[in-house]
Subunit: 195 residues, 2 copies
Amino acid sequence: MKEQLTAKQKKVFDFIKDHIRSENVPPTVREIAARFGYASPGTVQDYLRILKDRGLINIKKNFYRGIELLVPAFGIPVLGRIRAGAPEHAVEDIEEWIDVSGLFPRDNDVFALRVMGDSMEGSGIMEGDLAVVKKQPSAGNNDIVVALMEDEATIKRFKSRGNNVWLEPDNPRYEPIRERAFSVIGKVVGIIRNY
Amino acid sequence: MKEQLTAKQKKVFDFIKDHIRSENVPPTVREIAARFGYASPGTVQDYLRILKDRGLINIKKNFYRGIELLVPAFGIPVLGRIRAGAPEHAVEDIEEWIDVSGLFPRDNDVFALRVMGDSMEGSGIMEGDLAVVKKQPSAGNNDIVVALMEDEATIKRFKSRGNNVWLEPDNPRYEPIRERAFSVIGKVVGIIRNY
DNA sequence: GAGAATACTGTACGTATGTGAACGATGAGT
DNA sequence: ACTCATCGTTCACATACGTACAGTATTCTC
């Protein structure tokens, strides 16, 4: 069995992926046939069988729109090395596929917060970044947390030693916060930045 | 028309969302009925009509599995302000819903790269971060780029003045790169970090 | 030159599915 | 008392859909 897809097979596979991306659901057998001008659903069945044999899709039996991508539809390839030569060659060195939205927990306890200020610059958390936060009432030493001080939310590093807890910025221009009362809203589990 | 959903309506809506999250496709009318023990598809139709009136879903006519969420299924809420009081209250201040994977372009020209080294610390790009890169052969002044130098990929700030182009790290401990040849692979359009 | 894999057409079957209509029960609001 | 939205049932219809099977033609491999 050949591992590589033929050009036509790849086009069918790409169409399924694109359809999921644009319509949020996989296409039906006949929608694929219509897209490529095939007169019969049987043709598409052959393609699907091949894609299934290659491990690219799963087909739920007697399930309408039952084509399941085994590669994340919204994933992007993570490259291990980039080879010299050409950017086109680079894509062959795919280490893994990641679904960006799958990197963060999907609980109802997760929310995002726009970062304000530069008090955490030393940890690479910049103004305008989106901080992904998992709600929890306390934190461990050195965790980066969202804390609430008098109606104001702030991102700082949580410190605890013995019965003592305080907040520390990661920017030498700011002082640790030891005297003011605060409560922990949650722990920062991720940072997302858009240029 | 009331804006708020009743408990049962919310459960139906949540089931649709959960179904998309777990099965990658919206449920059929009868699958919803089966989930809640309804004896008839008509009951579900009523619910769907209500959810549609509330602007939560769209229903494609005569389209199998044609329920379309108008709120991102994999989205997380972005909070504007966090109010004092309780974490539970905070969630009411939702500014918008974002689909994390939708923040980045979905072209085939997008890939990700694991950041190595600390040469861009000053821009908040830390070792271990995932850099999202859009392929392009050149860049503008001050863009953060992925450049290839003798088989080695590196992330630096692209500088151009007149006919002169060079690369600059954002870390005072490193020197600008002016003498070595390099080629631009793409432009860094985002940073993703996981704690 | 035999055999497999690929690439199609055509026809057919059973059914899962969206849709629609008619109707009943309950509870809240005025 | 009356209305109205919500919540539910039953029956029915047309069809979009997955699936299966029987062919044909071309290309590639051994």
